[in-house]
Symmetry: C2
Subunit: 319 residues, 2 copies
């Protein structure tokens, strides 16, 4: 049996809301915690909240010039400031300077999102080996029990150097993607659920900092395989919509031959893949412009090693 | 017994979609019918489709400069064109010139909308004495049977001279307000329902034109009483959200003492009115900026006289 993965304590934690300015749960929570951060205090650390895209929040739009959550590329972050830059390029450099690799990166980044898709409480990792984030996700899942908005472990596996998401600027990260909720709308049930999950995430980090050992476990992860665009006519216009049998069926197995699209005359398009897959981001409003009708995922069984904070002695021993 | 209300035949019918550019059912239908209007043909007339706010549709936003569906005031329509006018002022004058009082007004206007509220298939009249529209609504309700997206008769009673909605430019009008659907999203079930309702509306006008008599009937109408804003803090910022017990409960009786708002700490606000009312437009995304959290309505029983096309003989007799 291998010994637990050992890490340093987690003391610098940031919670981003409003990375997309019309995803209202994170917007409301970040605004609230900026006014009154008392809920973010724990024995071993104090998290801070940040409204990631304040200008987009003010206008209640996803972004002003370009999607902030696609701006954290090496190219954007390292290029010199220019007046012609989209607002979000400048904001990405600011955030990176404060929380990311520009200075001493934060230990943990939580990034709060909503989706119009029926994705429950999706816990999104961008790295397949962020053990700390995986234990956090497992802790959230365990505490959630049989919650009506269940947790799903989601993996968009991107090499760190190619990762252009905000969450990537920290050493460890988890994105909470809660839905369904229309953009521009605050639903109390979704807001409450997100607040609860963030609090539990901080509880987890606090336990970890205090030396609690988290045993190894196995879990299901939904890993992105590919993205599927809408059918389009010769002019590029969308010519069919998500089929009502697929609508709201995020994480439900999609089998070869199942209907996926229907056009305005009721003619259907069927899934022609050869294997069972798990769709997500079905009919997400913001993905129409990204040419993504839904995302296809595989479900993989994952072993996660035990986790324990390295003790002072371990630290001494390792040097 | 009074004789049926008699009217002239209805031959000029326009169906507006995309009055709000991100309400996708009407956008999709108007685009479809502009390409292929065959579905709009009836024995006695041919309806035409119109994309009311094409620039907003292109950008997938509610409006570009200002809400088009509040631009049909006498003041806007009669004022001289100016370069400084919002885009929607210009567009309102164009639409009014083509379909409204600027020339010979169209006989019937159907205006297609979506809402993020759980309002089913709301059939919205702006006049309490548009007998033709009420018979159309009754016909849609009858043909709908026990449809999972039920019809509701909705009345915003506005004197014609004060009415600033697009639908007001025709002699008769009905607005179809279907939800819930997030703005920017096309749900197949909502699209199908809207298409069906428009087709039935045209069927109704065709039957009417052919001389069918529609007997008098009684029905429930939900009539707007007042609009309720969100609780706000001293800076004007929204400080509480729609309570989860009110969320999605459009047209469900709201009783004195029922919870209506909850804040981020779970503190509730209760309905303090003295009578049972019927809320609608609960948590509509586009109404945050209009300072409307929901609308309060009374349910009133309404008698509608029988309807029959005036025959040629009647016409002769009346002159």
């Amino acid at each position: 049996m291998s010994s637990p993965a050992q890490w340093s304590p987690v003391s610098r934690v940031v919670i981003f809301g409003g990375t997309h300015g019309n995803e209202m749960s994170g917007v409301a929570l970040a605004k609230h915690w900026l006014k009154d951060p008392s809920e973010l205090h724990r024995k071993t650390f104090m998290a801070e909240a940040c409204l990631a895209n304040p200008l987009a929040v003010e206008q209640c739009v996803r972004y002003v010039d370009t999607d902030l959550n696609r701006c954290f590329s090496e190219a954007v972050l390292s290029s010199p400031e220019s007046d012609k830059d989209p607002y979000e390029f400048k904001r990405a450099r600011e955030l990176n300077g404060k929380y990311g690799s520009g200075s001493n990166p934060f230990d943990f980044v939580l990034d709060l999102h909503n989706t119009t898709s029926n994705m429950g409480a999706t816990l999104l990792c961008c790295s397949d080996d962020d053990i700390l984030a995986m234990h956090m996700a497992n802790y959230l899942q365990s505490r959630s029990g049989n919650h009506s908005m269940p947790c799903y472990n989601y993996l968009i596996n991107i090499p760190k150097k190619d990762n252009i998401y905000l969450q990537n600027i920290g050493k460890h990260s988890l994105c909470l993607e809660l839905g369904p909720q229309p953009h521009g709308v605050t639903r109390a049930d979704v807001l409450t659920r997100m607040k609860e999950l963030v609090n539990w995430a901080l509880d987890f980090l606090d336990l970890y900092n205090q030396g609690e050992e988290f045993p190894s476990f196995e879990t299901d992860r939904y890993r992105v395989l590919s993205r599927v665009d809408y059918p389009r006519d010769s002019t590029g216009e969308i010519s069919a919509f998500i089929h009502s049998e697929l609508q709201d069926k995020d994480y439900v197995p999609l089998k070869p031959g199942d209907p996926i699209f229907t056009n305005i005359n009721g003619e259907d398009v069927f899934y022609e893949g050869g294997t069972v897959v798990y769709p997500t981001f079905i009919n997400e409003a913001a993905y129409y412009e990204k040419k993504v009708a839904f995302v296809l995922n595989e479900k993989v069984r994952w072993k996660v090693p035990a986790l324990k904070l390295a003790s002072a002695a371990d630290h001494l021993g390792s040097h």
